[in-house]
Each structure stands twice: as structure tokens, then as C-alpha cells.
Amino acid sequence: QQQVRQSPQSLTVWEGGTTVLTCSYEDSTFNYFPWYQQFPGEGPALLISILSVSDKKEDGRFTTFFNKREKKLSLHIIDSQPGDSATYFCAAEMQQGTGSKLSFGKGAKLTVSP
């Protein structure tokens, strides 16, 4: 069962443009939502994250928005650069008993064309 759904699966934007990636989830107990960036041959790296008590977090060219009512989040990349070409995953943290774990979306492959 896919707990975190991500769209689109792939997209291409021009250099300097704005990239928008979206995710949705069902479980209202999710409380922490990280976005990971993965380059070919590497493991995912934490890019930016947001807690469910916030609706926006910004880090340079990257901004993540969270809508608790609609159970949706998004990642915006302004002034997209060819070096941003990678696969982006949204994830959600769920508390379970004595621990917690992340549930990942299927990913979105971004290509930024010069």
C-alpha cells in the first residue's frame, strides 16, 4: 500500500524556470515530511524538511509547502539549474511503538535543460 503518493513521475524544465513537485498522503498521524534528492549512483540526501505544525519552509532556492487540511505537500525550486537534475523523493515519518520510520514516495525525476 502506497502511503505517500508523488507526482509527476518525471518532468523537464528550462534553466532558470520554477520546478513544482507534489505529494499527498492519507495517514493524518504523519508529522514530519522530508524531501530527499538522489543523483545516479548515490544514496538519497536530505534536501529540506517540514513539520506538520508549519505550512512553509524555505532554504535558498528550495521551498516546501505543507497543507494539513488537504494532506498535501509540495517542493518548489526557483531558478532551476542543470545541477538540480536528479530524482526527488518526498517522505513522511510515522511513529510506531518505540520507534519511527519513513515512508517514501516513488520519486520524481527532474531534468533541467540549459
Binding site: G43, L46, T98, S100, K106
Partner: protein, 114 residues
Amino acid sequence: EAGVTQSPRYAVLQEGQAVSFWCDPISGHDTLYWYQQPRDQGPQLLVYFRDEAVIDNSQLPSDRFSAVRPKGTNSTLKIQSAKQGDTATYLCASSFRDRADTQYFGPGTRLLVL
């Protein structure tokens, strides 16, 4: 500070063969995760440890997969009698006290089962 290290980086097997993957987490990280990432999919948690104890192995195919972390530091994931459906990248990650915001991934081991 050294990141999460994994070996080998690549493995090619025939169906029915066994393989082991090794992970060295970030120093001081008490929590260690093993994920399976099929091609064009997000990471899917197989098992995670806090120190030497298994916290969640509900997604680990127990008939052929096993994972240990005997001293609460390094860990080994083993597949007995591999199947073509096991073809994926196996990622190790570590964190401090289950905190997802401190979770770092290794580069992964790419497994191809012929």
C-alpha cells in the same frame, strides 16, 4: 566526519546464490536502517535496529533475508537463494535516536540477479 559506508558497491548473481551486504554507520549513530530500492522506485524499509536490537523487521522477507547488528555498530544484510525479483539497490542509513532529520544514507549496493 565519515559518512555511511557500504560494500560491495555492485553484485551480480545467478538465481539461487547467496550474497551479503555490509554497512558501517556514522560514528555515534545508534539507529541503523536497511532499505530496498527497486529501479525507479523510492526506498522501502526492510529492517531497522536501535543498537543491536531489531525494532522493526516486518517488511523483511524472513525466509530468505536476514540482518544482524551484533555489537550495535556495523551491520550485515544477507540474502539466501536470491531471486530475480531481488534485483534492486540496497541502501543502508543511520541516525541518532530514530530522528529522521539526522538520517543519512550510504551510497548503496546495486544487486543484479540473473
